[in-house]
């Protein structure tokens, strides 16, 4: 019977994958540059935060680090670089969807994205949309969605970037990318490699982070071509390999290893008419993992999934005030694994979106989606959102939605324990936002309430076997504040961004804060530039969280700093040297119980742009 614990332990390790997506921006050419226009056109009442490449450049070693220092999302990281799962507005790891160029890439096996299996080096931007997004992005879009975007620029250009960075714990990062185009043709190709021994010392102990080494390789290649004045073909590709050991804890050694292999391809044909725009996408997503209980041995367990996506978006501008959009999507998903056989799932979904601007100052959207999934019934979901520009400087954004998460292949078919009778989790939420733009200041305030029922959790059953059931109900409410400030004075540039979130996330029956959800989280980023010199300071405050048995894991403050100098800004070739110091105050902290995070560490980075 005790064996079940051990088997469950293995289940916990199953699968992580992820992806990325696009969205963003401000540009006139959005329609052409972006593969996910919905984020801009159908999200007026939602808060969207954009992390551009200058932000991405500051936290390059893991995606988790990028987001914990630059967003409201809290991460539970099983040791630096190890499995990392998000909690967005207090929701669980399966309730944040990651969207790669418009396609949801959460794992079909565990419903999550492991944020340490995404390398952001070759994305143009990362957008974070807070609040429910199941209507547009499907299962798991409950707390919010994280979009990974590749932008194609149809102007004459040819730029390349090479970067080498070397750091503590024998950490090496190399990347090379090139971005090119003319008015008809555009592309970008990037490769990157990260390798770290990750054997940092646990402060105040004689121990080091044992068995924590990791490396990953990432290739992005995206091409676009105008086949006529109104038609564009685009091809997106990403491949990601990672080889990690899973680190031990303060009390338990580890010898396990984990390999991820993911790739995704998408071909997109866009037709851009004056009143009708259509977009047809064919995508193939592949996720695969191998778990080695003992990395020295050949035995492993595995799982893999192939997903084929066919998607058609049709946008019709009825007038300059009303736009109608339909989305038809068909997915066929084939899994294979040592512990769950060869499951297959088909999903067809139909979505209708209405966007109306009755006046210049008011925009609202009404959105409906229905999924037809083999094996069970998915709920009809909706969202309504509105943006009201009350004054030139002040806008109100409001949205309400119903969202869902379908049971994963692991939940349904894992042997032993899988439960084929599960139903989807369903969730309602409301979100009220305010945005104030006054001179150099940008302030966003949001308050939300989320209630989720039929949450799927793995529990011991009467035979002592772990099995998932639709058991829990949670509610989440809280506030988020985001303050941005920019000042330019002669050659001085100053930019400040601060984020704060207060989160209550409770199990309805216990009326207690959920485990691993901090009440308070705040971060601040200060950047300063003067001519060829630039520097930044990052600070993260992570409030205390409850761990199993309701112990409290104390709050912590961590700070990073970086300075950079551009050695040759005038010529065609720029050399930028940069020194980064993470955890400058050498703070001992644990993000997850018994797993100390890195002490002070250094990185020297050289970037050549040509």
């Amino acid at each position: 019977m005790k064996q079940n614990i051990v088997v469950f332990f293995a289940v916990c390790y199953c699968v992580l994958s992820f992806g990325q997506t696009p969205t963003d921006s401000i540009q006139f050419l959005d329609e052409i540059e972006l593969s996910d226009v919905k984020l801009k056109r159908n999200a007026a009442g939602f808060k969207v935060t954009v992390l551009n490449d200058s932000v991405l450049n500051k936290n390059t070693s893991t995606f988790t680090d990028l987001l914990r220092f630059n967003s409201n999302i809290y991460f539970k990281e099983n040791g630096f670089g190890m499995v990392s799962s998000p909690s967005f507005r207090g929701t669980n790891a399966s309730q944040t969807a990651v969207i790669w160029n418009g396609i949801n890439i959460n794992s079909q096996l565990n419903g999550q994205t492991d944020f340490n299996t995404i390398n952001t080096t070759n994305f143009s931007s990362v957008d974070i949309k807070s609040g429910g997004g199941s209507v547009q992005y499907g299962s798991g879009s409950i707390g919010g969605t994280v979009h990974l975007n590749n932008k194609l620029q149809f102007i004459n250009h040819f730029n390349s970037t090479a970067r080498v960075s070397l750091g503590s714990f024998n950490t090496k990062q190399y990347s090379l990318s090139t971005d090119f185009g003319n008015t008809n043709f555009a592309g970008n190709i990037g490769v990157s490699y990260v390798d770290s021994d990750n054997d940092y010392k646990y402060l105040d102990t004689d121990l080091t982070n044992q068995n924590g080494a990791f490396n990953n390789q990432n290739i992005n290649a995206n091409l676009g071509y105008f086949i006529s004045d109104t038609d564009v073909l685009k091809l997106y590709h990403q491949t990601f390999f990672s080889d990690r050991n899973f680190s031990g804890t303060l009390v338990a050694p580890s010898k396990s290893g984990y390999k991820d292999f993911n790739y995704r391809n998408m071909l997109e044909w866009s037709h851009i008419g004056t009143t009708i725009q259509s977009k047809f996408k064919v995508a193939n997503l592949h996720e695969e993992y191998k778990y080695f209980e003992n990395k020295e041995k050949a035995n492993f367990s595995f799982g893999k999934v192939n997903t084929l996506v066919l998607k058609h978006d049709l946008n019709y501008d009825v007038s300059d005030k009303i736009a109608l959009k339909s989305i038809l999507e068909y997915n066929t998903i084939d899994g294979e694994g040592g512990s769950f056989g060869s499951p297959n799932r088909q999903v067809f979904s139909a979505t209708a979106l209405l966007q109306h601007n009755p006046t210049k100052k008011i925009t609202y959207g009404l959105n409906l989606r229905k999924d037809f999934t083999s094996g069970f019934t998915s709920p009809l979901v909706f969202s309504v959102d509105s943006k009201i520009q009350l004054t030139k400087n002040y806008a109100i954004k409001i949205n309400a939605s119903k969202n869902y998460r379908v049971p994963t292949f692991n939940d349904l078919f894992w042997q032993p324990g899988g439960n084929p009778d599960l139903v989807p989790e369903s969730s309602y939420q409301i979100d009220l936002g305010q945005e104030l733009n006054y001179k150099k200041i940008n302030l966003k305030l949001n308050a939300y309430y989320i209630t989720t029922s039929d949450l799927i959790q793995w529990r011991p059953n009467t035979s002592g076997l772990w099995s998932p059931i639709n058991i829990a109900e949670t509610e989440h409410y809280g506030v988020e504040a985001e303050l941005g400030f920019k000042q330019q004075f002669k050659n001085h540039n100053l930019e400040l961004k601060g984020l704060y979130s207060y989160t209550i996330a409770e199990d309805k029956t216990a009326s207690q804060q959920l485990l691993y959800v901090p009440f308070h989280k705040a971060n601040a980023n200060l950047s300063y530039g003067y001519k060829q010199f630039s520097m930044y300071y990052q600070h993260l405050f992570n409030g205390e969280v409850f761990t199993l048995s309701r112990d409290e894991l104390p709050f912590y403050n961590v700070s990073n700093i970086g300075v950079a100098y551009n050695l040759n800004s005038k010529g065609n070739t720029n050399y930028i040297v940069e020194l980064k110091v993470n955890n400058i105050f050498n703070t001992y902290y644990e993000n997850v119980a018994l797993r100390p995070m890195p002490n002070r560490n250094f990185t020297i980075q050289t970037t050549i742009k040509f």
Partner: protein, 356 residues
């Protein structure tokens, strides 16, 4: 709380949240009693990856309860996945499965004596014979060739030998110079029973019993009882559970009783002429003289994990289906088959021992 919620929604602009609810400071610090006698010891596995195990103590009259005893006494936590305990004289041996370690304590004060952290690989259970501790080790749970019984000299706390055994050694008991190891089978299944001689520390014989032998008990007449769960139905090869009776003077199988199809019993316990076992959350009782299985359960424990019996009381560990944060010790009267008391324990209580 509802009001609070509405207030937050309405007042989003006034960020007057300087303090948060502090309503969870309910963890009462218990002053350790430093004398853990005449009571029940429960080992708690704790959380899988990021947790520590614990020990709870409950007095025989069920009035005094102390959780996290080891931590209270020693001001340090136990290791990861506390699987089981063994006792020898005044010493207690705590097996930390996830930490691959063995903690030696005074069983009556729980003061730490030493930690043995090499020589073990996925340790499970221990028995003591002639001043030596025998500890079953799975090695890697999927590797069928790296399993062994580690032999620890209890005077020097050093390992003197490793006895290679069949795949998945789990329960271990001893009688005189014979040691019996049930091979439940790691992450998968096995059907072996190994007999080891405690003088030569060598395997004498290996018997094939039913599939998944999960518990061993020796009765007053020196009969060894082996409860086999059978292969569970998620394996392609489901088999029936069985109760085997072994003659310990000849180390041969005397007889066996097969369970009905689809039934997978576990947790055999023997106490004064009666055998008890668990089946799908129910507790069954049969006389050890009986040759047929009982048809009716004595009573039911919702998420029964393990139990022990003493006299007319049965001490069951029940895992809370709603939360991983607690589990329960449920004490049943065997006279009335009714629950006497339910006591809150830490996460994933695993084994019950009597400490008198």
């Amino acid at each position: 709380m509802k009001l609070n919620k509405l207030a937050i929604l309405a007042l989003s602009i006034s960020l007057a949240f300087t303090s948060c609810s502090n309503d969870d400071d309910s963890t009462v610090t218990v002053e350790p009693i430093l004398e853990y006698v005449n009571g029940i010891i429960i080992t708690e596995e704790g959380n899988f990856t990021n947790g520590t195990g614990a020990i709870s103590f409950v007095s025989n009259d069920l009035e005094y309860v102390e959780n996290t005893v080891f931590e209270n006494v020693n001001e340090e936590t136990l290791g990861n996945l506390v699987q089981s305990m063994a006792f020898d004289g005044s010493l207690g041996y705590i097996i930390e499965n996830g930490s691959n370690a063995l903690k030696v304590v005074n069983r009556y004060t729980f003061q730490a004596i030493t930690t043995i952290s090499s020589g073990l690989d996925n340790p499970r259970y221990m028995t003591v014979v002639n001043g030596k501790g025998y500890i079953t080790n799975w090695g890697d749970g999927n590797d069928e060739t790296d399993d062994y019984v580690a032999v620890l000299d209890l005077n020097t706390n050093t390992f003197v030998s490793q006895i290679p055994v069949a795949f998945g050694p789990e329960a271990i008991v001893s009688l005189n110079d014979n040691i019996y190891v049930a091979h439940q089978g790691g992450f998968t299944q096995n059907n072996q029973l190994t007999v080891i001689n405690a003088v030569s520390d060598e395997v004498i014989t290996t018997l094939t019993v039913g599939d998944v032998p999960n518990s061993l008990q020796i009765d007053e007449s020196d009969t060894l009882w082996v409860l086999c769960g059978g292969n569970p139905n998620h394996t392609a090869n489901e088999t029936d559970g069985a109760l085997y009776k072994i003659n310990t003077s000849t180390n041969t199988i005397t007889s066996s009783i097969t369970f009905d199809e689809g039934l997978h019993p576990s947790n055999l316990y023997y106490d004064t002429n009666n055998l008890y076992y668990g089946l799908s959350g129910d507790v069954y009782k049969m006389s050890s003289a009986e040759s047929t299985l009982p048809e009716i359960a004595e009573f039911s424990v919702s998420n029964l994990y393990d139990f022990s019996v003493r006299g007319n009381q049965l001490f069951a560990l029940d895992h809370n289906v709603y939360s991983s944060e607690t589990s329960y010790l449920k004490v049943f009267s065997l006279d009335t088959n009714s629950e006497i008391k339910s006591i809150d324990l830490g996460p994933f209580a695993g084994e019950v021992y009597f400490n008198n």
